[in-house]
Symmetry: C2
């Protein structure tokens, strides 16, 4: 049973978190370890729902901040365990987002009297279909646990503030045909061949770039899965292409789907997963005050993040965490040690002065 | 443990065989039942290798005929158990090729003194990659078990004689890319998108028809499988399209591969399975004599069949069996009762007069 010692250095704690494997839907070990490490802290009230933990101070401060991070990772890609090399920590989840989780855990352990009340959220299943998302479940079933004036989602943002986020939608393009023996293929109809125009569309698609509040968002339309085939001798009667559309926050989910229907005209689309984007919201006072306190440049968030969930709850939210998001989900995922320390120090300063 | 009673009517025996499920690589039950039913017949010497059985008379006749059929089927497709409706028997394997196997088993049981010595072969794993094929293994490891002057492969041929067979080759077209988070797809490279030109090629491919010895062969080039994808958030770095080429017997395997390399120029092809075609060989005396004795029209065999294996052993061979091969591997697979009876009667007459 893995244990976490929150008194170690924040970079060591990141490595310790990385070394507790936690692919989506397999977060029991890491959630147990986080729960045990938080439950001994007298200044926090810890709640658990599934493999999602919510720990809060109750100091009666005039403002409450929510600091959130997900515990899960994408599947391993030959990049475990964590490996520290000079100024860089390598490994699955170092960037997305155990560096941010380590910072949040350090803040939770060290700050027993922050100047703002803080609610720390450590949640499950962010990397897979939205229905599994732990933060989403809490927002639906225990919205009072998430009450606050401002939220910081510690997704990797190069230790700078990233505002808004793009939406994401997954659709299945399903073709059907008729099975026959492949030696007499003219008796059947090949479902895989029927995917050809959809793949050609994807291959030549030019994604849009759009400027909102001075930030340039960049969309993407990609196949993330394809499958079909019965056996080596049979003309396949069924094939499925799964497409992921990442759309800028000026499109609603309905508009995003309308665009996909236009792009894939003639195909049936089945939406299997959808989450709206979030507009940057830099005009809101709480967001502007935070940005000024921690300093640094503000950029657009390309990835979908759960800031959209806070937006839907009416809570201003930004992304702010260590790590270059370009390396998320890649074999050479890593985080710079200096960014982990910088985010830790700036948040500590903001919460103590 | 299923048992077979070879004294029942040949159509009932077909149904009994259908009702012993025997998808490729799962032939133990049916091979055991066939072995038990043959081993009680005093006029036969029964040999077994894996799930392949060879039963032979030893009457010292001047001519020996090999009669062969495979015991396996493609995967179930909602078409079990067997169902007799009027003049038609429906179900998986009725056509390909338990009708033929039933005829061969009836001949084996009934003819204790045929005018030609007969070697009956019931073999495993014909419907999958050639490496598993039971007849191929016997031809390599015990070629003396297959000695004969003429071979009849009881693959479905509408109860007519079908000559030669087309070759078959399976290749994998593998594309590679680079993983990245799908929210920043421009950091990666999508292996599934790279399959687009190959699928387009398949979709527009026009298959050749060619006349040989007066018979028109018809080729086919088809995707039989496609897979790719890591998870819903990841640009995939690997995709595989499996293609099956059915080629007329005027092309060698090398020529078939050269054609595929030309058609899929720019892609790497990996051959995973290959079997040569067989020229019709209607000019050979043994083939001509059989055709004359059983009567009926002679047509080309589109499917690959193991007549090619006999051709390689220097034994003239034809396809002759009940069932319309157009319905092989289809959900509505069936055999006409009259064809099962007709093949049974004609072979009985040929072997007894």
């Amino acid at each position: 049973m893995p244990e976490l010692d929150l008194s170690v250095d924040v970079v060591d704690l990141t490595a310790d978190l990385v070394n507790i494997a936690s692919e989506s839907l397999h977060e029991a070990d890491i959630a147990d370890a986080v729960e045990r490490s938080l439950s001994v802290l007298p200044h926090l009230t810890v709640r658990r729902d599934g493999h999602t933990l919510v720990a809060a101070t109750s100091l009666g401060r005039s403002e409450r901040v929510v600091i959130a991070g997900h515990l899960d990772t994408v599947p391993e890609n030959g990049n475990l365990p964590a490996r520290l090399e000079g100024d860089t920590l390598w490994g699955l989840g170092t960037c997305d987002m155990k560096g941010g989780v380590a910072v949040a855990l350090k803040l939770a352990a060290e700050l027993n009297a922050p100047v703002r009340d803080v609610t720390y959220v450590f949640y499950e299943a962010e990397e897979i279909a939205a229905e599994h998302n732990g933060l989403g479940r809490i927002a639906r079933e225990h919205p009072e646990w998430l009450e606050g004036d401002f939220a910081i989602l510690m997704e990797p943002s190069n230790a700078g503030v990233e505002a808004g986020c793009q939406g994401t939608m997954r659709v299945e393009i399903r073709t059907t045909g008729e099975r026959s023996h492949s030696a007499r293929s003219w008796m059947g109809s090949n479902a895989i061949h029927k995917l050809a125009p959809a793949l050609a569309t994807l291959d030549r698609y030019v994604a849009r770039e759009v400027e909102i509040d001075g930030l340039v968002y960049r969309e993407g339309l990609n196949a993330v899965g394809v499958r079909g085939g019965v056996s080596g001798n049979v003309i396949p009667d069924d094939a499925v292409l799964t497409v992921n559309f990442r759309f800028a926050p000026d499109r609603s989910e309905n508009e995003a789907l309308a665009h996909l229907r236009e792009v894939f005209e003639g195909f049936d689309l089945i939406v299997t997963d959808s989450a709206p984007g979030a507009l940057p919201g830099l005009d809101r006072p709480a967001a502007a005050a935070f940005v000024e306190a921690v300093g640094g440049q503000v950029g657009p968030k390309f990835g979908w993040t759960d800031v959209a969930k806070f937006t839907l709850l009416g809570i201003p939210a930004v992304n702010y965490g260590p790590g270059d998001p370009s390396f998320a989900h890649k074999a050479d995922e890593h985080v710079r040690v200096a960014e982990v320390r910088s985010v830790h120090e700036r948040l500590t300063r903001w919460l103590t002065s």
